[in-house]
C-alpha cells in the first residue's frame, strides 16, 4: 500500500505555497487585522481561481470532485502561512450541501462556491458562535437536531472578541422556520457529525502547518542571534528544545493524514482518528509555540515580532471544532465505552 502523496497532490500544495508566500505575508495579516471585515475578497478570489474552493465540490456542480486526501496538504500549507480566510467553514458547508438528500441547495450554491462567488458559514453544536458569519452568503445553522440554511438577511450578528484578531466569531440570532429547514432527524445527525469531523480535520491540518512554521521561526532566529560570540542555535539547550518540538510535529503528521484518509473513505474509525489528529495537532502546536517563544527570548513577546501572529492562530484553531477536553472525551467514549478498536491499517479500517 502506497501512503505517499501523488505528484498532483504535492503540486497542489506547491502552487498554494507559491501563492501564499507571495500574497499572504505577515504584513498582509497585520493589514487585515486593521480592516473592517478582517477578510480579503481579493485573496479569496485568487484562492478560488487557483481552484482550492472547488476541490471538494462535485464535478456536476463545476467542481473537481476530489476528497480530503487531496485537500489535506493544502490545509496544512494554509496553517503554515496563518491563512485565516473562511476556508474551513466553506469546505465543511460544501460537503454538507453536496450530501443533502434534496439537491436544490447544492445546485444553487455549489457552482458559486467553486467560482468564488459564495462563502459558507457552518455552526456546530460544540461552539456557541459561528465563524465568519459576517462574510457568508449562506449560513448553515443547527437547532434542536435540525439543520437550517439562512441568508444574511435572515440573521442578526453580534461580533465576539477573540485572542486571535484573525478569528472572526459571531453570535447569531435567528428563527428557524419550515422555509429554512434543510435536514432533520437521522439525516441531520449524520450530516452534522460528518461536518464536525471535517471541520476538526481541517483545523488539525492547519495546526500542523502552524506548529511547523513556529519551529522554523525558532530555528531561523537561533541561526541569526549570537550570544557569547556564537549563534544561540549551537547551544544544546536550544537544539534539544527545537528537536523535541519537531519530533512532536512529526508524530502528528501521520495522524492528520490518517484522519484525512478516514474521512475520504468513510472509515469506521473516522471520528476517533479525527479526534486523535486534532488533539495531537493542538498539543504539538502548543509545544512549538512555547519553544519558539523561549528561543526568541524577550523579543518573542513583542508585537513587532511575527511569532505571535502564528501563536494566536494556533490558539484559536486549537479551540475551534472541538476543544482538547471534548476530543479527549470523544476518544475515551469511542475506544473505552463503545469498545471500538483503533485499528492501525488494513481492511478493518474501511467501512
Amino acid at each position: 500500500m502506497d501512503f505517499s502523496f501523488s505528484e498532483d497532490q504535492k503540486m497542489f500544495q506547491e502552487t498554494l505555497r507559491d501563492f501564499l508566500t507571495a500574497e499572504h505575508t505577515s504584513a498582509t495579516i497585520r493589514e487585515l487585522w486593521d480592516s473592517e471585515t478582517r477578510r480579503s475578497s481579493e485573496l479569496w478570489q485568487q484562492l478560488c481561481e487557483i481552484g482550492i474552493m472547488g476541490l471538494l465540490v462535485p464535478e456536476e456542480y463545476d467542481g473537481m470532485g476530489m476528497d480530503e486526501v487531496d485537500l489535506v496538504l493544502c490545509l496544512e500549507e494554509m496553517g503554515t502561512h496563518a491563512f485565516a480566510e473562511p476556508v474551513i467553514p466553506t469546505l465543511v458547508g460544501t460537503r454538507l450541501l453536496a450530501d443533502l438528500a434534496d439537491k436544490s441547495l447544492a445546485q444553487e450554491w455549489l457552482p458559486k462556491v467553486a467560482g468564488g462567488e459564495a462563502i459558507l458559514a457552518v455552526q456546530y453544536p460544540e461552539s456557541p458562535f459561528v465563524q465568519d458569519a459576517h462574510v457568508a452568503n449562506l449560513l448553515i445553522l443547527q437547532k434542536d437536531g435540525e439543520l437550517h440554511a439562512l441568508t444574511p438577511d435572515q440573521v442578526k450578528l453580534t461580533r465576539q472578541d477573540s485572542n486571535d484578531p484573525s478569528n472572526c466569531l459571531f453570535s447569531v440570532d435567528w428563527t428557524p422556520s419550515a422555509d429554512t429547514l434543510i435536514a432533520q432527524g437521522e439525516e441531520a445527525a449524520k450530516l452534522s457529525a460528518e461536518a464536525f469531523d471535517r471541520g476538526a480535520l481541517a483545523a488539525a491540518a492547519q495546526l500542523l502547518g502552524c506548529g511547523q512554521r513556529m519551529i522554523h521561526m525558532a530555528c531561523e532566529y537561533a541561526s541569526e542571534r549570537k550570544q557569547f560570540g556564537v549563534f544561540i542555535g549551537t547551544f544544546q539547550a536550544i537544539k534539544h528544545m527545537c528537536s523535541n518540538a519537531q519530533v512532536q510535529v512529526e508524530y502528528v503528521r501521520p495522524a492528520v493524514y490518517r484522519a484525512a484518509f478516514s474521512l475520504a473513505n468513510n472509515s469506521v474509525n473516522r471520528s476517533v482518528n479525527v479526534s486523535m489528529a486534532k488533539l495531537a495537532a493542538g498539543e504539538a502546536a502548543h509545544t512549538a509555540s512555547r519553544v519558539s517563544m523561549q528561543v526568541h527570548g524577550g523579543q518573542g513577546y513583542t508585537w513587532e515580532q511575527d511569532l505571535h501572529l502564528w501563536m494566536r492562530r494556533a490558539w484559536s484553531l486549537d479551540l475551534a471544532w472541538g476543544s482538547k477536553q471534548m476530543h479527549s472525551q470523544r476518544i475515551a467514549s469511542i475506544v473505552i465505552d463503545q469498545g471500538v478498536p483503533t485499528a492501525p491499517l488494513g481492511e478493518s479500517w474501511l467501512a
Binding site: 497542489f12 502552487t15 485568487q46 487557483i50 481552484g51 472547488g54 473537481m64
Partner: protein
C-alpha cells in the same frame, strides 16, 4: 499563432546553495528547483496571447529528469504542450551549445514568436536569447518591458539604463527576451495541474534535432566560490567636509581616478 517559450529550471530562491565537491558548480542533490522567474514572465506573456487570440503555447527546456517538474508547472499554468531536451551532452555543454539546440527546436517548430526571460537567475549570462535568434535566423530584442502586436509586427518597449525606454518595431517571426515585471504572472490552477497530465511532453536529444555534433563546450567553468569577506573596511568619520576630503584622498591613494 504559435508561441514558443524557452524556460529554465533554476534553484529555488529560498534554497541553501553550497559549492559542489568538485568546486565547479553548486550542490544540486538536496535543493528544490523552480522555473527561472524571468521565464515565468515570458510564459505569462504567451498565455495572455493564448487567452486573447487562442495562440498555441509550446514550452521548451533542457536538462535532467527534474526539469519535467518545470514543464508540468508550465502546462498547469496553461501551456499546450512541452518539449524536453534530455541529453547529457547538452547538459555538459555551454550557453552557446544550448542555444544551438534550442534554435534547432525553433527551426523545427517554426513559431510566430519566441519568448524567453532576459537572463537566468543561476548563471546570469543574459546571452541565450540573442544567440537563439542568431542561430534560428530571426530577429531578436532584449530587456522588453512592453509588447504590442499588430499583424506581423511587434512594437516593444526596451528597458535602458537610467530608467529610459527604447521603442522598437520588429517583424515576426522574432525572439523577445522579457524583463521581470512586464506582467502579473498567474498561478497554476488545480484544474490546470490535473489537465496537464493529459498534455504531451516530447523528449528529444541534440541528435534528434540534427545538432549533436555542434555542441561541444567552448567555455569551461574553472571554479565557483563564495566571495571572501574582506576585513579592511575603514570607517570614515568627521564632518561632511572632512569625510569628503578623506574619501577623495583615499580614492587618489588607491589610484581609482
Amino acid at each position: 499563432m504559435k508561441i514558443l517559450v524557452y524556460l529554465k529550471q533554476v534553484p529555488h530562491q529560498d534554497a541553501r546553495l553550497d559549492i559542489s565537491s568538485d568546486g565547479t558548480w553548486i550542490e544540486e542533490s538536496n535543493i528544490k528547483f523552480e522555473i527561472n522567474s524571468y521565464d515565468t514572465y515570458a510564459l505569462e506573456e504567451a498565455l495572455k496571447a493564448k487567452d486573447s487570440e487562442g495562440a498555441e503555447v509550446v514550452v521548451v527546456t533542457a536538462g535532467q529528469d527534474r526539469v519535467t517538474q518545470a514543464l508540468r508547472t508550465a502546462l498547469g499554468m496553461g501551456a499546450d504542450r512541452a518539449i524536453h531536451i534530455k541529453d547529457e551532452a547538452v547538459d555538459a555543454s555551454d550557453v552557446l551549445g544550448v542555444a544551438k539546440v534550442l534554435a534547432a527546436v525553433a527551426k523545427e517548430e517554426s513559431p510566430d514568436l519566441i519568448l524567453t526571460g532576459l537572463m537566468s537567475e543561476d548563471s546570469g549570462f543574459a546571452a541565450i536569447g540573442p544567440m537563439i535568434g542568431e542561430f534560428a535566423g530571426i530577429a531578436s530584442t532584449t530587456a522588453v518591458v512592453g509588447i504590442e502586436r499588430e499583424g506581423g509586427k511587434l512594437t516593444v518597449e526596451r528597458e535602458l539604463e537610467g530608467g529610459n525606454l527604447e521603442v522598437v518595431e520588429i517583424n515576426t517571426p522574432c525572439l523577445v527576451s522579457v524583463q521581470t515585471g512586464i506582467n502579473q504572472v498567474r498561478y497554476a490552477s488545480l484544474k490546470g495541474i490535473m489537465q496537464a497530465k493529459k498534455k504531451t511532453i516530447d523528449v528529444k536529444t541534440a541528435a534528434d534535432l540534427g545538432v549533436g555534433d555542434a555542441i561541444s563546450p567552448k567555455l569551461t567553468t574553472e571554479k565557483v566560490s563564495v566571495p571572501v569577506k574582506g576585513e579592511t573596511a575603514e570607517l570614515v568619520e568627521g564632518s561632511t567636509d572632512e569625510i569628503a576630503a578623506k574619501l577623495a584622498a583615499k580614492i587618489k591613494e588607491l589610484g581609482l581616478l
